[in-house]
């Protein structure tokens, strides 16, 4: 047996310095070196499963937890007890409060800025005697008023409450306000103004005060407040009554409509009933009550009710209608109120006359030629509609006449050709063929046609007009189109 050293030398491995460390160490060392513990597997687990750890574990590793919120920049905030001076105070009082140590030590007191002082108006004796004289007020009392007004920051109710001028007359709040604002107005107006005109007028506007209006308003408020409980109750009862009546009426109308619809059919086209709430509110309370009594007993809604109502209103309102351009088209009273006879309300613009569908194209072309747009009427009044209708009628007539004329002309041409052929005695087969195909469906005896008179031709032309009416593509323009194409079209149609 070869010794370990021999084997080593054969395998060209380095010599083992300490044979005691032996082969037991070797593989272990190797394994730790070669396979590193993958990320995301706990050490204990890895030592159990060894290198057979699933490769996927690496991806599943490390649950990503939600990041911890970072509150307030982290760390603690240091607070300090500092004394401060208040800029809004005139004395040197120092109070203390807790502030963040990071705050500026000599900053202005943050609440001092809320100490807003209004402008105080003052005047000299000379100014007073020139502008501000008032028989009701002395200068001293005016001074007192301004002093107290600024003491209480123009809170007029307080000023009025605390106003105690010795030996002065009792002043209402309006008196005080009026005096204050009028003095301010006069001062602003009569002094030289440093700023622009707009700001001056704006300032004047803010001193606007209408004493009479204010007194009136106060009277209203007082009378509103001084209502007796009975009056308030009555008012409330009336209000509730109105509400109830309105509701009743609405209900009644809805019921009636429903009933009518049920009887006359869903699409009877009954106009929706307009609620006349306005008249209800305007009417005086006594009347309302009476009306309410009537309405409480609901009349049986009869089908003919609206029809029956109309004739009297018509007679009565003839003048009214004339002045307001109302044109009534009533159904004759004899017609029964059925679905067929009923004409629902419509917009006149919906009933603008249209040319007949068959020749609409030609008529439209004609109308555009003369500069009339039939599809849109700027003002579809009754008269305008009538005008348009007559124009369209005329246009239709014209187009039809033209077509008849064309047809006749063509027939005459054809007959003339045949006559020539006869007279020539030759066999104009191609042309005859064409004629034959032209008249194939109508008659089986092309020969007989030759003998027909002009009157017969007129009959044919009407028939052919019918054809052309069916073929939409034919217009007055292509009356001159060769007959072969026309036959083709006709064949198509017949099939």
């Amino acid at each position: 047996m070869a010794s370990a050293a021999d084997v080593r030398s054969i395998l060209s491995l380095p010599a083992n310095s300490s044979p005691a460390a032996g082969p037991s160490h070797q593989p272990k060392k190797q394994s730790t070196v070669s396979t590193r513990k993958p990320e995301g597997i706990s050490r204990e687990l890895y030592s159990l499963i060894g290198s057979s750890a699933p490769a996927l574990a690496a991806q599943l590793a490390k649950p990503r937890l939600k990041q911890k919120p970072n509150l307030g920049g982290g760390g603690k905030v240091k607070w300090e007890w500092r004394s401060f001076k208040n800029g809004a105070r005139s004395d040197s009082l120092e109070l203390g409060h807790w502030v963040k140590a990071t705050d500026k030590p000599n900053a202005d007191y943050q609440f001092a800025k809320y100490n807003v002082q209004p402008t105080v108006y003052e005047w000299s004796q000379d100014e007073y005697s020139r502008h501000l004289e008032d028989s009701e007020w002395t200068k001293e009392e005016t001074d007192y008023l301004f002093k107290i007004a600024h003491e209480y920051d123009l809170r007029w109710y307080i000023i009025h409450d605390r106003y105690e001028y010795p030996n002065g007359p009792t002043r209402e709040i309006e008196d005080l306000k009026d005096r204050y604002y009028s003095v301010c107005r006069k001062l602003v107006r009569n002094r030289t103004w440093a700023g622009d005109e707009a700001s001056k007028s704006q300032l004047l506007l803010s001193f606007q005060y209408d004493k009479e209006k204010e007194i009136l308003r106060r009277k209203y408020v007082a009378s509103l407040a001084n209502r007796t409980p009975e009056q308030i109750q009555e008012e409330e009862a009336l209000y509730i009554e109105i509400k109830r009546l309105e509701q009743n009426e609405r209900q009644f109308k809805r019921d009636r409509e429903n009933l009518l619809r049920t009887i006359a059919g869903v699409d009877s086209g009954l106009p929706d009933i307009v609620e006349d709430d306005a008249t209800l509110i305007v009417a005086d309370p006594k009347k309302k009550k009476l009306k309410g009594m009537d309405l409480d007993i609901p009349q049986t809604p009869v089908l003919t009710a609206p029809v029956m109502k109309r004739p009297p209103t018509l007679n009565k309102n003839a003048v009214y209608d004339a002045t307001h351009c109302i044109i009534r088209n009533d159904p004759p009273p004899t017609t029964p109120a059925t679905k067929v006879a009923h004409t629902p309300a419509y917009l006149r613009s919906f009933k603008i006359p249209y040319p007949k569908a068959a020749i609409a194209h030609k008529v439209n072309a004609l109308l555009t030629e003369i500069g009339v747009s039939h599809s849109r009427l700027v003002m579809p009044t009754q008269a305008n509609c009538q005008h348009l209708e007559s124009v369209i009628d005329a246009a239709t007539n014209l187009v039809e006449l033209k077509k008849v004329l064309d047809k006749v002309n063509q027939d005459v041409e054809v007959l003339k050709n045949r006559l020539e052929l006869r007279e020539d005695g030759g066999d104009g087969g191609s042309v005859a063929d064409a004629i034959e195909t032209d008249d194939r469906g109508e008659t089986a005896e092309p020969e007989g046609e030759n003998r027909r008179s002009l009157s017969v031709m007129s009959a044919r032309s009407t028939r052919s007009r019918k054809h052309s009416r069916r073929s939409m593509s034919v217009s007055s323009v292509d009356t001159a189109v060769p007959s072969s194409t026309r036959t083709g079209i006709k064949r198509q149609k017949r099939m």
């Binding site: 609440f111 003491e151 409450d161 308030i232």
Partner: protein
């Protein structure tokens, strides 16, 4: 903090009422110290030769010569031989300034353990306070307590602030005075100020009800428990069986006895009495529960409709009663009507939709509901702000003071020591409007 406009300068707020004195730090929601306003004192004549050293540990101090005074919770309520009871407050106003510094000192130093000279102090006053009174209070604060800054604010205004409003009709029912005060923009409308000693009338009525013989039950004897040595359980409406502490009877003063009897009556009122929320109605009364109450003597009884009669006094006076006493204090609806009548018609709607009900007396069961139904009779749109929390209701004035004194914008209004020394008493009237 800036968002709320608050800036706490560790101010103190002191609210002195008829029944108790409240003190605490501005910015807190409840006062730290609540001590009774009445105090016990042993006159010098009775003190001589009497070695009363045992009761000294709490709230004892020397006032006015040699009289020994007792303040706080262990003050008047503890029986002491020859101890008289005094109350510096009468009709809501400070009538006797003698014991006031000692009372405040007890609250600040013994209960709150703070030094007055380190804190600005806000003191409250009723709306009908006199100019002399507030100046005297300022003097006490600056001269005796050496406060750096002082302000005196109106309780009605503070109650308005406590309710989070600027304008309100404050109905404050205290222990001795009921008041209705219109407040607009944080100022009291003095012309609309109405107050009466209605709670006293109610108290007298309740006392009369308890102590007069009745076909159903014997009159109640209002001995306080300090004077009772033993008692036995008895049936309702039966005569009580108890023995009095004969050793104490001799040393009990009349004022102490009266004060304690009043407390017994008050406790009965607060526990048993109520008010019907829809006005007096005999049918409705029959359905109301009876309530049992036991007095310290062991006497107990069930109280039925009569307990509502007590509360009814706040809202309605029988014609006989009015005929009997011509200057009977006005009831609450009367106060409200008179107050509103004196106000501008434009303000009435504002005020009536901002009614603030406050004061310990308003905790009477059913009072807020009844007030609502009374107001509904004359005003279509009204709103009553009555905090459900009894602390807020009882100490509304203090709470408002706590809010006010912790506002950043308020700190310019303090009367500083410097201003006091410069301008003297006049500054109080100028600054505290």
């Amino acid at each position: 903090m800036v968002n709320y406009g608050g800036d706490e300068v560790s101010a103190l707020v002191i609210d002195i009422g008829s029944s108790s004195l409240r003190a605490g730090y501005a910015g807190d929601d409840t006062p730290k110290a609540i001590i009774p306003s009445p105090y016990g004192y042993i006159p010098p004549s009775a003190l001589s030769g009497d070695g009363d050293a045992t009761m000294n540990e709490n709230g004892a101090s020397e006032v006015a010569g040699k009289a020994k005074s007792y303040f706080g919770h262990s003050g008047p309520s503890i029986w002491r031989a020859n101890m008289e009871i005094g109350n510096p407050i009468s009709d809501g106003l400070i009538a006797d300034f003698g014991p006031i510094p000692a009372l405040i000192r007890h609250a600040l130093e013994d209960v709150m353990h703070c030094t007055a000279s380190e804190h600005p102090i806000l003191v409250t006053e009723p709306s009908w306070n006199t100019q002399a009174n507030r100046e005297r209070m300022a003097e006490i604060m600056f001269e005796e307590f050496q406060v750096p800054a002082f302000y005196i604010a109106n309780t009605s205004v503070l109650n308005t602030f406590a309710a989070g409003k600027g304008s309100a009709l404050v109905i404050d029912i205290g222990q001795s005075v009921a008041s209705v005060v219109p407040v607009v923009d944080g100022f009291v409308l003095r012309k609309g100020l109405q107050f009466s000693s209605l709670p006293k009338l109610v108290h007298a009525h309740a006392r009369h009800l308890l102590t007069t013989p009745n076909p159903v039950r014997p009159p109640a004897e209002l001995y306080p428990y300090q004077l009772i040595s033993s008692k036995q359980a008895v049936e309702p409406n039966a005569h009580p069986r108890y023995t009095l502490r004969e050793d104490r009877l001799a040393g009990t003063t009349r004022s102490w006895r009266e004060w304690y009897e009043a407390r017994e009556v008050e406790e009965w009122v607060q526990t048993v009495a109520g008010v019907l929320d829809q006005g007096w109605n005999d049918q409705l009364l029959q359905h109301r529960q009876h309530k049992q109450y036991e007095f310290p003597t062991g006497y107990n009884a069930w109280f039925g409709p009569e307990r509502f009669g007590v509360g009814e006094m706040y809202f309605h006076h029988t014609p006989q009663l009015v005929a009997g006493n011509p200057d009977i204090p006005k009831h609450i609806p009367g106060l409200i009507t008179d107050s509103l009548k004196a106000c501008d018609p434009e303000l009435r709607q504002v005020l009536i939709s901002n009614v603030v009900l406050t004061g310990g007396g308003s905790l009477f069961s059913g009072l807020a509901d009844r007030l609502g139904s009374e107001l509904a009779r004359s005003f279509p749109h009204f709103k009553i702000h009555a905090p459900g929390n009894p602390i807020e209701r009882r100490y509304g004035g203090w709470l408002g003071g706590s809010i006010l004194a912790s506002l950043g914008t308020f700190h310019q209004l303090w009367i500083s020591r410097e201003e006091w020394q410069e301008h003297g008493k006049a500054i109080v009237g100028q600054r505290c409007k």
